[in-house]
């Protein structure tokens, strides 16, 4: 750079060869004085200031490389974190909050009388029998339904193989099937439910 500066001075001196020596010296001082900072030793090479000179010269090629290397390191770190087993989301229902374990919360119930415990035992037995009868009836109904369908399909097969094949095809439009179940009282036509706000306080866990 110094050489270049001297070269610039020499050029100038060469051009103005005919001018007086006083002019040359003033021009020389001009080329040297007009610098941006004390690091900038030459006018021509703008980027050759001292701190920048300390870096590698070819910046355009290497900066993207460095950026790439940095990105790879970050990706490796992320992969390591992902590989490590993730923290399980706690199931709220399985943990009893401590305020419910307080002794003051326990209900004081007098022990059951003999009649009451007998009544309960007998009722449970009656219930078991009732449910068994109900279950058997349900199973019978289902068997009858299935038998009726089997018979119908057999008869259909006797009639026409083609219709039978069409009948045993899976119906893709059947599921998913959503239907609202029965309620205790029937729907009131034109009923407007009162306004209200539902504030959802469920905890949402994000990674």
């Amino acid at each position: 750079m110094l050489a270049a500066a001297c070269g610039a001075a020499r050029l100038l001196s060469g051009v103005r060869g005919g001018a007086g020596s006083s002019l040359l010296s003033s021009q020389l001082s001009w080329t040297i004085q007009f610098r941006g900072n004390h690091w900038q030793t030459s006018m021509l090479a703008f980027q050759a200031s001292l701190p920048m000179r300390a870096e590698p010269k070819k910046k355009k090629k290497v900066d993207p490389k460095r950026a790439q290397v940095q990105k790879d390191r970050m990706k490796k770190k992320i992969k390591k974190l992902e590989k490590a087993s993730q923290e399980m989301i706690p199931i709220e229902d399985f943990f009893t909050p401590t305020k419910f374990l307080d002794a003051s919360r326990v209900r004081e119930i007098s022990p059951l009388s003999f009649e009451e415990s007998e009544r309960r035992a007998l009722l449970l037995k009656k219930w078991a029998l009732y449910k068994k009868i109900e279950h058997d009836a349900e199973m019978e109904t289902l068997k009858s339904l299935m038998a009726a369908q089997e018979e119908a399909l057999n008869e259909l097969r006797l009639e026409s193989e083609e219709l039978y094949q069409a009948a045993i095809k899976r119906d893709d439009d059947l599921f998913p099937y959503e239907k609202e179940g029965p309620s205790y009282t029937p729907q009131i036509p034109g009923y407007e439910a009162p306004e209200g706000k539902c504030i959802d306080v469920t905890k949402v866990y994000t990674h």
């Binding site: 209900r107 018979e151 008869e155 259909l156 026409s160 009948a167 899976r170 119906d171 309620s183």
Partner: protein, 287 residues
Amino acid sequence: MAAPGGWRGALWSRGGGKMAAPMQRGLCGGAGRWRGALGSRCLTAAAASPWRLLGALCLQRPPRITPALSPVQEEMARLVQQIEVEKSHFSDHEIRHLVEEEQLQKKKYNIQDEATDSGQAILLAQDLEDAWEQKFQSFKAGHRLTDADKCNDRTSLNRKLDRNLVLLVKQQVGSQEQWLLPQAEWQAGETLRSTAERVLATLSGNHIRAKFLGNAPCGFYKYKFPKAFRTEDSVGAKIFFFKALLQSDDMLQAERRGEYAWVSKGELGDYLKPDYLKQITSFLMDQ
């Protein structure tokens, strides 16, 4: 194997011996009632069956309210509730209630302690409960027993809300008008399920939406025509039933031609012939 019923009560066994003859004569498919029209897709070795095919629709309105609890169920429900309360701990609301009761008790005995009362909460747990109870009472729920129930209007869909209701129509079969599940003759080129869908469309003119439960029939009924009506090609008919659940709430248009009724399983006996009824009840759920 269900015994197929005869038309007008004629027994099938009388015509049993003559089954073979019509089948042989009906081999040629020239008449093309429904066999010839199948064309190249028809199976080669199948003899032309003398049974006419019909597709019928078993349209059900699912129950809208839960059935009433039987006495055993009610007792059990009460017992279960009792046990649940016994095994539970006090909730926040109950604790608040107990604390406030204690305070009230104390106030009764120490009437001079009025200084402490000024900062107390005015709304007690008991007051809250009373307010909730009042609000509940002010809500008028729909009646489980509707007007249609009281006057036994069989054409109404609002009757017997806790049961399945099936649609019955009065149709011309042969020379008679009979109550039966709506049916139509199967036409060549369609599946039996599409026959049933056609039945639904003709009944309602596309006002009713129904969900068909699968491609397979749920039951069938076959009967032979009286001897006078039997021909070579049609000895009898086989009706295949398809179940569908009613989805749209609006009732059938009143201007429908012909009579119709929505009946529960127990009331089917009032309308249907015994053999037909027996086949139908085999694929209907109780009530």
